[in-house]
């Protein structure tokens, strides 16, 4: 009998940097049922960390806001959405350029989107200035 791993979860937390670790661990725990390799978990945690950090540093920029993560497991695929209602991205294509950052003073490397794109199988960004940003990511867990 084929096991049905389909599952869904949603978490929401305030834009406190201490929640970056909480977000990683939460998503990693949720994906555990797919029995991913250490490398797959590491890739997912890193991508989540990048997206959440972007929401905190860029989306909310020191203001207090909510970051939401929705996760879905469909067969052996993990789908993630990292959502904020922050200031939004003016030029998404520019933001996705490797090494481009609007916050060099925070020692940001501008590699966030590059890492998300490399570590996940699919990544899309939707954003509206003044309303917020959603990052969609997908990864197939090979088993």
């Amino acid at each position: 009998m084929e096991k049905n791993y389909d599952n869904e979860m949603k978490i929401e937390f305030i834009s406190n940097p201490n929640n970056e670790a909480f977000a990683r661990i939460s998503v990693a725990s949720f994906v555990a049922s797919l029995d991913p390799t250490i490398e797959e978990i590491s890739d997912i945690k890193t991508a989540v960390s990048e997206a959440v950090t972007n929401s905190i540093i860029h989306g909310y920029e020191n203001t207090r806001g909510l970051v939401k993560i929705k996760a879905r497991i469909i067969h052996n695929t993990i789908e993630l959405e990292v959502i904020d209602n922050g200031k939004g991205i003016e030029d998404i294509e520019r933001a996705k350029e490797a090494l481009y950052t609007t916050k060099p003073e925070l020692e940001r490397s501008g590699m966030g989107f590059t890492i998300m794109e490399s570590f996940m199988d699919e990544m899309q960004v939707k954003s509206t200035v003044g309303e917020g940003t959603t990052v969609f990511m997908k990864k197939i867990i090979k088993n």
Binding site: P17, N18, E20, A21, R24, I38, E39, S42, K45, T46, S49, E50, T53, I56, I57, L106, E107, R108, S109, G110, M111, G112, T114, I115, S118
Partner: protein, 103 residues
């Protein structure tokens, strides 16, 4: 983060934390800069033995400390990097400036 200074060899060593994300990088930044400016070592070595997670915030942190070290005339290297951490480092090209050394 454990910090040791070998006065004889003028080697300042940082034992990096288990996780290096934006939150941790902020905490490491000022502490590490203070130690580098305080001791003005010949060499700075970041030991990644205990590091099991790092995202791009770690890249910015390493580059920032490299600049601080350079300002006081010190070299900076990294060592004991796990494969999944190396993956993130390679993506940024930082290894071309700061190669991984054997401890």
């Amino acid at each position: 983060m454990n910090i040791t200074y070998d006065k004889e060899n003028r080697l300042l060593k940082f034992e990096m934390t288990e996780e290096i994300d934006h939150c941790m990088a902020e905490k490491i930044r000022s502490k590490a800069d203070f130690e580098i400016q305080e001791h003005t070592p010949k060499k700075v070595l970041m030991d990644f033995e205990n590091v099991s997670f790092m995202d791009s915030a770690g890249i910015g942190m390493i580059l920032g400390r490299y600049k601080t070290a350079k300002m006081v005339g010190s070299t900076l290297n990294i060592t004991n990097v796990k494969p999944r951490i190396k993956k993130v480092l390679e993506m940024s090209g930082v290894l071309k400036i700061i190669p991984i050394v054997e401890e």
